[in-house]
Amino acid sequence: MILGLVEHADGRPERLSLEMLSLASRLGAAASEPVHAVLLGTGAREAAGQLTGRGIPVAHVVEDERLAAFAPVAWAATIAQLMSANAPAVVQAAGSDRGNEVMAHLAARTDLPLAANVTDVTLGEPLRLTRQRWAGSLLEDAVLDAPTKLLTVAPHAFAIEEPASGGSAPSVESFAPTLTDDDLRVAVARRLEPDRAGISLTDARVVVGGGRGVGSPEAFSELEELAALLGAAVGVSRVVTSSGWRPHSQQIGQTGLRIAPDLYIACGISGAIQHIVGAKAAKRILAINTDPDAPIMSVADYAVIGDLHQVVPAISAEIRRVTGR
C-alpha cells in the first residue's frame, strides 16, 4: 500500500496534496498496490469525502479533539501508528511547509531516511528517485534504501488529475491514535489572522512582481494599481525585502514563496536563479525590463523592453480605456 498524507482546509483537500496523490496513484498502479489517504484534524471527514474518483479505496480519518490545533509531532506519531498497522511500502506527503515538517518528524522518530521534494520516483529495491536541490534549480538522482520509503513531493512537479467520473468514494475508516503528552507538547497555541484580506500570492491567477528596478517603496503604487485592475497579487524579489521596501511575506523565490499563477508579470526583475525557482511554475511569464539580455528573458514567454515606470502606468491606462473602468 501507498499511504498519502492529505492536508486540507475548510473541508477541502489542499492543491499540493492533490498533486501528491497524482504521484501516489502512479506508484500504486505500477506496483499494483492500493493508495490509502490519511487526513487529520477538524474537517478531515468532510475533506475525505472530496476524494471521490481518485482511485483511493480507503481514507483513514483521525478526528481527535487534541488535534484540533495543528501539532506536528502528534501528526507524525499518528502516521507512525498507521504505518505499524498497515506496513505501507511508501509514505508520502506534499512538499508543503506542513508536509515537510510532519514527514521529517516521522522520519526522525522511526529513524528512516526521508527524501524531500521528489520530482520522479521508480519503485524497486532500492527505490530510485529524482529530487530538487536549490529549490529546483538543480536535480539530484538518488537511491533510497529503507524498509518504508518516506517522501515529500515537490510542489507543482505533478499535475492534479481529474477525478474519474462515476468513480467511487473512499471508504472512510476512523483511526484513534495513542498520543502522549510529549507528542502533544508542540501545538499551535493560537492563530493571528491576516491584517487585511487580500488575494493570496500562492492562489492568485495573476501575479505582478517587482524587483530592484522598482527603485523605491513608493513606486510600488504603480504595480499595485495594475494588480488591482487585473485582480492580481503583488510579489517581490529578494532585493526588495532585504532593502526593507516590502514585507518578506511577499517574497517570491527559494527563501520565499513558490507561486504558480496563469500569468506572472515580472517588472524590473533581473532574474537570479533564486527568484526564478519561485516563479517557474507560472504558465506564462511577461517580463518588463530595460535590459533585453537580463536572465529573466531566458524564462520569459513575452517581454516589453523599457522602463517599468513608463510601461506599467501606460498598461494600466490602456486597461482603463479598453474596459471603461
Binding site: 526522525a108 538543480l138 538522482d141 534504501d145 489572522e193 520569459a300 523592453i305
Partner: protein, 256 residues
C-alpha cells in the same frame, strides 16, 4: 540564554549552475561561498537575543576546513565562539549530518551546560533536505518548530511565530528548544571592520565527526530541462501598452 546556531557553507550561485564533469557536484571554481539567507537570519537573531538577555552564542558547522570562513563571518557580527566539525568536504546525508551535530552538542553541553536554544535554517540552500533540525531535536528530546519568522524569549519559554494561510501560527515552547527559522525573521546587519578583525583572531574549536550515513544516497546531479523559453518581444516602452492589453485579453486575464 545560551544559544547555538548551526550553519552550512554553500556556493553563492547567482546565475547559471555549472556541474563538474562527473556530474556529482557543482563546479565551484569561479564561485564565492556563503550560507543560506535563513541561516544569516538565525545568526543575527542569536546575536540580538544575547545582546538583550545576556548569555553566550556559539556557531557550528559541519564541513571542510574552508568553512571556517563562514564561521568567522558569523563571529564578525557578534557570535562569540565557533565550532567546526571538520570533514573532507564531501556531501553528508541528513541522517549523518544530524547524528554528528547531536554528538557535538552532547560534548559541548557536557562541558559548558545546556544550550537554551538551538537555531537552524529551515532548510539548507543546497541540499534542501528540510529535516536536520528536527532530527537533532528528536534525538535530544527537545521541542522543535520549523518555518519560524518571529521569536520572543521570556520566563523559561520561547514564543515563536510562523506564517500560515496568510496569518500566523503561534507556538509556545518550554526551553530548551529547537527552532528552524526562515528569512524574514530579521534584517541581518553587515559586519563592521573591527568586528571582522576581532573574528579573524578568534580560535575555532575543531572536532572530528563520525559519519553514520542513512540516505538518501546521491548518484548524480543534473540541470532541469525545459526551463528555457523563447521570448517574444511584444514592444518597447509605453508604446507597448496596447499590445500588452491585447495579450492580456488573449490570455483571458482581462475581459473575463
Amino acid at each position: 540564554m545560551n544559544i547555538l546556531v548551526c550553519i552550512k557553507r554553500v556556493p553563492a550561485t547567482g546565475g547559471r549552475i555549472t556541474l563538474t564533469p562527473d556530474g556529482r557536484d557543482i563546479d565551484t571554481r569561479y564561485l564565492g561561498f556563503t550560507v543560506s539567507p535563513h541561516e544569516e537570519c538565525a545568526v543575527e537573531e542569536a546575536v540580538r537575543i544575547v545582546e538583550a538577555k545576556g548569555g553566550s552564542s556559539t556557531v557550528l558547522t559541519l564541513g571542510p576546513e574552508v568553512a571556517s570562513e563562514q564561521l568567522r563571518d558569523a563571529m564578525a557580527i557578534g557570535i562569540e565562539r565557533a565550532v567546526l566539525l571538520e570533514t573532507d568536504g564531501s556531501d553528508w546525508d541528513p541522517l549523518a549530518t544530524a547524528g554528528a551535530i547531536v554528538d557535538a552538542i552532547q560534548a559541548l553541553e557536557a562541558e559548558g551546560g545546556t544550550f537554551d536554544l538551538l537555531l537552524f535554517g529551515n532548510e539548507a540552500a543546497d541540499t534542501g533536505d528540510f529535516q536536520v533540525g528536527i532530527r537533532v531535536a528528536t534525538a535530544l528530546g527537545r521541542p522543535c518548530v520549523t518555518g519560524i519568522k518571529a521569536i520572543e524569549v521570556a520566563d523559561g519559554q520561547v514564543v515563536a511565530r510562523r506564517e500560515a494561510a496568510g496569518g500566523w501560527e503561534v507556538f509556545e515552547l518550554p526551553l530548551p528548544a529547537v527552532l528552524a527559522v526562515k528569512e524574514g525573521l530579521n534584517l541581518p546587519r553587515y559586519p563592521s571592520v573591527p568586528g571582522r578583525l576581532r573574528a579573524k583572531k578568534k580560535e575555532i574549536v575543531r572536532m572530528t565527526p563520525q559519519a553514520r550515513p542513512g540516505g538518501p544516497r546521491k548518484e548524480r546531479l543534473r540541470l532541469p530541462e525545459g526551463d528555457e523559453s523563447t521570448v517574444e518581444v511584444i514592444g518597447e516602452g509605453a508604446a507597448a501598452a496596447p499590445a500588452v492589453v491585447e495579450l492580456l485579453t488573449r490570455l483571458g486575464v482581462i475581459g473575463r
